[in-house]
């Protein structure tokens, strides 16, 4: 029976209450001083749905309310319990290091956008100069997005352990960020983001989360 993996914790974690995807029972598999939260896959043929995404997230967050953890990427399933234990055993050094990195921490997300879509134009341009003006406008938009990202980064770096900033430079969305912060710092960081939002005209800054530390597991996209 295939098993679906939600997250990895230390040896003493107990499963959260409730069930997992498709109402399957949640259970812990243990090896190498680690625990893996899994549930049996009921129907391995069906396609994943948006509800499955929320269910995965719900399970991981319930576990995270009681334990530090490394969340698994969505859709991770292994052939059986033994395969899960082999995975824990084979990757134990990396997983223990990963748990140390996120110990006592959560992830907050930041999105910064221009609520009135920014074209980057300083004034209207039509006709044969429009192409050049468009490119200039796009460059301006990138510059403004980078400046905004630096400003946000400078304000929040003192409050976080690690951060990943992505400059998008689009007409609606300037940047996104992921911040690894102490569990106790959530309210403080949200308040700081709220202050920043109030300070800046025509910038909308929003905080999402807290999230499990997906962006700081070291096992995902290295380009993040």
């Amino acid at each position: 029976m295939a098993v679906y993996l939600y997250a990895i914790c230390d040896a003493h974690a107990e499963p959260p209450s409730g069930t997992g995807i498709d109402g399957a029972a949640l259970r812990m598999l243990r090896c190498a001083g680690l625990s893996a939260l899994v549930s049996d896959v009921r129907d391995s043929e069906r396609s994943p749905t948006e509800d499955d995404l929320w269910e995965h997230e719900s399970v991981v967050e319930r576990l995270m309310s009681a334990h530090d953890l490394l969340p698994a990427r969505f859709g991770t399933s292994l052939i059986d319990d033994a395969a899960v234990r082999d995975f824990l055993d084979g990757r134990s050094a990396e997983l223990h290091a990963g748990l140390r990195r996120v110990a006592g921490a959560l992830e907050l997300g930041i999105r910064a956008g221009w609520p009135v879509a920014e074209t980057g134009h300083d004034d209207g341009h039509d006709g044969p100069r429009a192409g050049g003006a468009y490119l200039t406008a796009r460059v301006n938009l990138q510059k403004r997005a980078r400046a905004l990202a630096r400003h946000v980064d400078a304000a929040l770096t003192p409050l976080c352990r690690e951060r990943l900033i992505r400059v998008l430079g689009g007409p609606n969305m300037a940047m996104t960020g992921a911040f690894l912060i102490d569990r106790g710092a959530v309210d403080r960081v949200r308040a700081r983001v709220s202050d920043l939002d109030a300070e800046m005209m025509n910038v909308e800054l929003a905080c999402t989360g807290p999230w499990p530390p997906y962006s700081f597991t070291g096992g995902g996209d290295s380009s993040r």
Binding site: E50, L53, S58, F74, G75, R183
Partner: protein, 78 residues
Amino acid sequence: MSGASLDMPRVARSPRGAREVTLLDLLDRLLSGGVVIHGEITLAAADIDLVDLGLRVVVGSVETVRRDLASPAREGLD
């Protein structure tokens, strides 16, 4: 949202616009982040392509998800 506790489930209390933003954040994290069993399954594509593929494969029915595709440039702060 108030307090330092995790707010669950996020979607139940979010207005529609906020839910769309949160769905993008959810997809971004669940499909591009987290521990992977086989490192080599990461698609050799820019982050945005990975999420796009994830959207088509996983969330085909969610027609309201929008994403700013205006700039494919992925730059740091330098």
